[in-house]
Amino acid sequence: MLLQVNDLEVAYGRARALHGISIDVAEGERVFMVGRNGAGKTTLLKTVAGFLAPTAGTIRFAGREIAGQPAEEVARGGIRYVFQDKRVFTKLTVRENIEIAAHAARIKLAEAIERVVEIYPKMTRFLDSPAGGLSGGQRQLLLLGRALLGQPRLLLIDEPTEGLAGGAIDEVFQVLEKSKGKVAMVIVEQNLSVVRQLADRVYAIKEGRVCSEFRDAAAIADPAVLEGVL
């Protein structure tokens, strides 16, 4: 397994957000997490990414314990986190947004731009514009493009289609679809239509615990099954 989270507990002060949650993700696998708001999905992603320190439990990534490591070390180890809020560096140009990620991933800027443009060809028009002028969908594609630079092994993506219009959702969907098998993903998603079409496996999260796990493609594709656990 690439990622193994065992009995993870996380608290915000006295309020416990995760109660001994356990998940695992294989190389190249696309794992979705569904659940109501406040179930602990984002907390789990943030803890794996090094933003929050767990109070108990282990997180093993590629055979190495990473629980409590700072975010920059986790990122350097090959885990990229795409936040829910779609915040790019708005005052930098799109080119500079790509450059800072390319430099961190130790790849050349030209190659990085080429790879982002492959994902979203229209991005060439905005390379020298401030990233703050991009629409929500374009920002999400820029963030996904940046996260995919330098061959990461695991992407943590928080609600990639939230707040996007139909066309933008399709474009994000295509990016996730094209990356199948190349990089493992843990995706928090409320849009069950996207989950049904893309998921290799689904965890349903409730009150900081895994309440169900779906491995069977037929069960995942069945609208009644996922809606039933929410």
Binding site: E72, L92, I100, G133
Partner: protein, 320 residues
């Protein structure tokens, strides 16, 4: 009718910015005086050093006079006790500023916002006390100390034209260095830290290391400006480390437009023009400076340079 530079024209202008800058300061020296123009240049170097921290990385310091003063006293003490060679004294200023900045970075760089500003102010106050009282035996206390520098071949920094040439060469070198730095991935990193530090960490950057490097560079260059000032005046007093004078560099950075090498120079020159010539006509000139700053904040938030670029600079496409 609107006028805007094309991107190609702007790039051509940028290629010749250093000769243009040198020519402008030579013109300024001709218009006012060599001594005053040298003062202007040295202050501009200080503003450039300050703006690396404030404009590019978003850290407002209320105590940067500490680093200017460190350079000033390092230069004076080196000339007095080690070597009267002005270049050796300048090097001592640069190293002393960097060393003090590096030691203090363990306290300062982990803080942000008001905490960062006030910690620097507190450290500045400590430095002022050390110079004025604790180390008065070596620094001359309130009276300060006079300094004599030796000649380097035919060059004598006591000669106004030589000092002007040295200061101008230093300014050109500092502008070249900062332009390279701020245009590099490191410069982009600093601007990203200014906008969202935690997101930069998720890209895999060691943010503390980047902030420490920027802080030390800023303190070293501030000290370098302090060293040049002592070469120019040949004496040092506690006014070079006075906390009350921090407002000068902050005003200059704001007036010029924070986050731009050219903005820092525009701000430095504008502030020096106001503070040097306005007192001849207006008794309480500081009040005018306050009004000028209010106008800048409400009407021209990007400062003189930022407003000029917004008005005449190349246009950029907007996202959909």
């Amino acid at each position: 009718m609107t006028f805007a530079l094309g991107a190609a024209a702007a790039a051509r202008l940028r290629r010749f910015d250093l000769p243009i800058l040198a020519a402008l300061f030579m013109g300024l020296a001709w218009a006012i005086s060599l001594q005053r123009a040298t003062d202007f240049i040295i202050f501009c170097i200080f503003v450039l050093a300050y703006d690396l921290l404030y404009g590019h990385m978003g850290r407002l310091s209320f105590g940067h006079m500490l680093y200017l003063g460190t350079g000033a006293y390092a230069t004076a003490l080196t000339a007095e006790h080690l070597s009267a060679n002005p270049l050796a004294a300048l090097l001592a200023a640069l190293l002393a500023g960097g060393a003090v900045g590096w030691v203090l970075s363990f306290i300062t760089v982990r803080t942000t916002g008001a905490c960062f500003a006030l910690i620097n102010l507190a450290l500045n106050q400590v430095g002022h006390f050390l110079v004025l009282v604790a180390f008065a035996r070596w620094t001359g206390g309130e009276d300060g100390m006079s300094v004599t520098f030796s000649k380097i071949g035919p060059f004598d920094v006591g000669h106004k034209a030589t000092m002007f040439g040295l200061a101008l060469a230093c300014l050109v070198a500092v502008v070249w260095l900062l332009r390279r730095l701020t245009g590099s991935p490191f410069g982009i990193l600093l601007r990203s830290i200014k906008q969202n530090e935690s997101r930069v960490r998720f890209l895999g950057y060691d943010v503390v290391r980047a902030k420490t490097l920027a802080f030390v560079l800023s303190t070293a260059l501030s000290a370098f400006a302090g060293g040049l000032a002592i070469l120019n005046y040949a004496y040092v007093t506690p006014s070079f480390i006075d906390t009350g004078r921090n407002v000068e560099v902050i005003f200059a950075a704001l007036i010029g437009g924070a986050g731009s090498v050219y903005g820092a120079i525009a701000g430095g020159v504008a502030y020096m023009l106001i503070s040097n010539f306005l007192p001849n006509y207006v008794q309480r000139w500081e009040m005018f400076l306050g009004f000028a700053l209010l106008v800048m904040i409400f009407r021209f938030r990007a400062g003189v340079w930022g407003s000029l670029v917004a008005r005449f600079g190349p246009r950029r496409a907007e996202g959909a």
